[in-house]
């Protein structure tokens, strides 16, 4: 499954980054690498973007970007 399918309160581990180039770099810069634990924290009113906890920071990702992060549910 991909990160955009994670519901608030659920946790997962990054399996693979499917993005390329600048977006991929951005994810790596934020510490999102294979093996990183992620938690869906909350949904914005329209459901996009979503807030995720990564390495004790909370970041917002668009649904599109989250869809390019393959995860394994914890």
């Amino acid at each position: 499954m991909t990160l955009d399918m994670l519901k608030p309160g659920e946790s997962a581990v990054v399996a693979e980054l499917q993005s390329q180039g600048a977006e991929r770099n951005r994810m790596l810069d934020l510490g999102i690498v294979p093996g990183t634990r992620l938690e869906a924290v909350m949904r914005s009113p329209l459901g996009d973007p979503m807030a995720y906890r990564v390495r004790s920071s909370v970041i917002a990702l668009r649904r599109e970007q989250a869809g390019r992060i393959r995860i394994e549910l914890l």
Partner: protein
């Protein structure tokens, strides 16, 4: 309150390291000649501008949102008889820049040759902040890590072993709470030691681990050095080229990479161009 503190001071106070900050003279913008140039780098929202204001006495806008420091701010201070110019860079997660303000920070750390790069790290989000720290250590020996927001960390029940961290990173790590002025004296001492070379840093470098990649980097770095003699960090540039970094590739193609070295006027021009956009 401050006046009271002054009056109880005995002559012995000025000799002890605890009163180091009393030797700090904030010079505001006044930069007529300096001995050392200090760059303040760090992730967004780690307190770079707060620290900048504490050091220089200026009131650079401090705010809790990303992208606030769009172009660099400059100020200066005097410590122990030496003048320092401080450059407050925009917050960045990485030196592999994604946006134009991140590029400003990257170019200055890479090619502006600051005497000391202070990486301001958020003690409450240390793991993420260490990425940039390691990237900075890749390209310079002269770095100090300011472990800021230690008061916040304590409030969250976090304890950071800054000594072990300093040993592992090979550069000084100074725990601080800049907005309360805590740790400023130690930071000044560390900056001075690194600037003057009294503290011999041994920055941690990540090994490439792949002999094929290593030899490719060496071959390309030699080419880069031939094309841009005197360019610092040819090895770093080579790695970026192998990675397909478009902004670095463009700078090499157009020959603008060389302008970023020593006497190149391109950085201020570039900043002006950014502001004009």
């Amino acid at each position: 309150m401050g006046v009271q503190a002054e009056t109880v001071k005995s002559p012995a106070c000025s000799a002890c390291t605890a009163s180091c900050t009393s030797q700090l003279v904030r010079l505001g913008i006044g930069t007529t000649g300096w001995d050392y140039v200090i760059a303040l780098a760090g992730n967004p929202n780690t307190g770079k501008s707060t620290l900048f204001n504490v050091l220089t006495g200026l009131r650079q806008h401090v705010g809790n949102w990303p992208g606030k420091t769009v172009v660099r701010a400059e100020g200066s201070f005097r410590f122990n008889g030496r003048n320092y110019k401080v450059v407050d860079l925009p917050g960045t997660y990485s030196l592999l820049s994604a946006s134009s303000d991140e590029e400003v920070a990257r170019d200055f750390v890479l090619f502006g040759r600051p005497d000391v790069t202070v990486v301001v790290a958020d003690a409450t989000r240390l793991e993420r902040n260490l990425g940039l720290v390691l990237q900075v250590l890749e390209i310079t020996d002269r770095a100090v890590v300011a472990l800021n927001l230690m008061d916040e960390a304590a409030r969250h029940g976090l304890r950071v072993d800054s000594r072990s961290l300093a040993r592992d990173l090979g550069v000084p790590v100074v725990p601080m709470a800049a907005r309360r002025g805590e740790g400023v004296a130690d930071l000044l001492g560390s900056i001075e030691e690194v600037a003057t070379g009294t503290y011999a840093t041994r920055p941690r470098r990540v090994d490439l681990r792949d002999p094929v990649l290593e030899s490719a980097v060496q071959t390309l770095a030699a080419e880069v050095d031939r094309a841009f003699p005197g360019l610092p960090n040819a090895r770093w540039v080579a790695l970026r080229l192998l990675e397909g970094d478009e902004s670095i590739a463009r700078a090499v193609r157009e020959g603008t990479l060389g302008e970023l070295t020593r006497n190149g006027p391109s950085l201020p021009d570039k900043l002006m161009a950014l502001e004009g956009r």
